[in-house]
Symmetry: C2
């Protein structure tokens, strides 16, 4: 790790024109990590262009420097490419052109199984967020984050740890967050902007999902179903389902939480969450989906009630 950080720091020192890429469907970790580095590179007098194929989601548009982010560029003359939070060029969309044209490449990521892009790879699966690895790189470079960099990295860490709640948090995560606070970042303010900022329609949809909550006879499975009608009546959009399944799983005694929802003309979307290591990825895979042990998803053909029976039967089969 130390040697990789040294090589990465050296590559940055030698570069003049740097292109940075975030992954598609960007989250706070990929955007925050890329922007933090952009700030530092520009402070060093270099050209630094941050790319995000899908732009910047609304909840991250407060990040200092987010206005620098573009979806694509014509130039192919960068001397260093950095990709943050993925190791796969398939997942950077239009950024692939300039990134692959650069003679030197650096990948900073905490996903170990996702591609192997980069001559230099700062990759560590024990980091809760790519933001932690960027922080380690800045330390190696002798850079103390200013307020803007600290905000970007705190946003990265907070997004990927659910504000320090997920099992990926380590003592190192908390110590880096403490340092970033001392550089001016406020976890409570970022939490309010990123996580406590649901649309009225989204809150009503969450309300409807919770009112309709069902428990299996043994109390170990909780599930809820949202129909096209529910979306219409709440005025809700697909992105308003974000996080609802976490509330479903939060029922006392429940090991697996399931949310099924359907949008007009679409397949039935299924989100799965578990505690205590029940591997819900296996359930998702049975229907052609995927994910992680504790969080997975898949899609099924309508109708909704048939999809519901099939998924619940599969969950019960795996838990037995």
């Amino acid at each position: 790790m130390k040697a990789d950080l040294q090589r990465a720091a050296e590559a940055i020192r030698q570069a003049n024109r740097v292109v940075l890429a975030s992954h598609i469907n960007p989250d706070g970790d990929t955007i925050g990590s890329s922007l933090a580095l952009t700030h530092v590179l520009r402070q060093m007098g270099k050209v630094a262009v941050p790319l995000s194929h899908h732009g910047v989601p609304e909840i991250y548009r407060w990040l200092p420097g987010q206005e620098w982010i573009v979806r694509s560029v014509e130039e192919r003359d960068f001397d260093l490419a950095i990709i943050c939070d993925t190791g796969s060029v398939e997942r950077i969309g239009e950024a692939r052109g300039p990134v692959e044209a650069a003679p030197v490449s650096l990948c900073i990521d905490h996903h170990v199984t996702e591609g192997s892009f980069g001559q230099i790879r700062v990759v560590n699966a024990k980091a809760a967020a790519t933001g932690e690895l960027v922080y380690a790189l800045l330390t190696e470079m002798g850079v103390t984050p200013d307020r803007a960099v600290a905000d970007c990295l705190m946003c990265a860490i907070i997004t990927d740890t659910g504000v320090f709640r997920f099992p990926n948090v380590t003592p190192q995560t908390l110590r880096i967050a403490a340092e970033l606070m001392e550089c001016g970042a406020s976890p409570s303010e970022i939490n309010e902007i990123v996580f406590e900022n649901r649309s009225l329609a989204g809150l009503k949809l969450l309300g409807r999902a919770l009112e309709a909550l069902q428990l299996s006879a043994d109390g170990q499975i909780a599930w809820s179903v949202l129909s096209e009608q529910d979306f219409l009546e709440c005025g809700a959009a697909p992105e308003d389902t974000e996080g609802i399944v976490n509330h479903v799983r939060a029922a006392r005694g429940v090991q697996v939480g399931v949310l099924l929802h359907q949008l007009p003309g679409k397949r039935v979307r299924v989100n799965l969450r578990s505690r205590n290591g029940y591997d819900v990825r296996r359930v998702a895979e049975a229907f052609g989906g995927g994910g992680h042990t504790l969080a997975a998803g898949c899609s099924l053909d309508p109708p909704l009630n048939e999809a519901e029976s099939k998924v619940l039967a599969e969950v019960k089969r795996w838990m037995a």
Copy 2:
């Protein structure tokens, strides 16, 4: 602070029989702090009796040593009394007898305005939780927390910071939490037990409150009203309202969130939450209630709809 910690450590060294008191309506901070000290005192070979007038709430019954906690004792022969998380003997209920009979008294608290109990006072309003001050005391005593003590203190800190989300979190809070992780405590596991452990009835009640969410014309106030009927239909109890107002305030653009609810034969209970420093305590005080700037509460006479109008008018008046 250092001198107070030294005096507290010395008082503990000299004591043989110690009574510890939590405050009434106990939370994870008062119970966790008191239990952490009980473990350490017993490991030092002393008699240590933790008292909690209202016992141990169900969500804290996993804490190691919680079975030692009793509601009252006959004995009046303790040589040291420690009260955790309040400085007021009015707030310790039946523990007052043995506590006031002890010749030496120690208060460990992060509320500065709440009483002045204790010959020795380890009191610091900058600590996010009393658990932080107990950790500082253990450091002063040269004690490294074992797993049980670390669990108790992590629970204390997590409860009072909403798992590191509230504005009271400091770099010191995060560093102490990092140390406690290294002693074996897991914030994600404690979060699941304490915060992601709602009854089915409580989730349905939350759902109903969110479905009924209303926004003021300027979008700055969100409120919801739960009637006796809602509690009946959800099978919910008063404690199931816990935390609902935080979800109400989480609506985008909202500065003040209000939850009103009524239980059979009771007054209308009002919970208020704000962002950006709108002082909702002033609103609560207008109706004889109290609290903090960002979180306050009060009670009004029925009927519910009149109470709703009065409280909203007062919130609007304060925001104007």
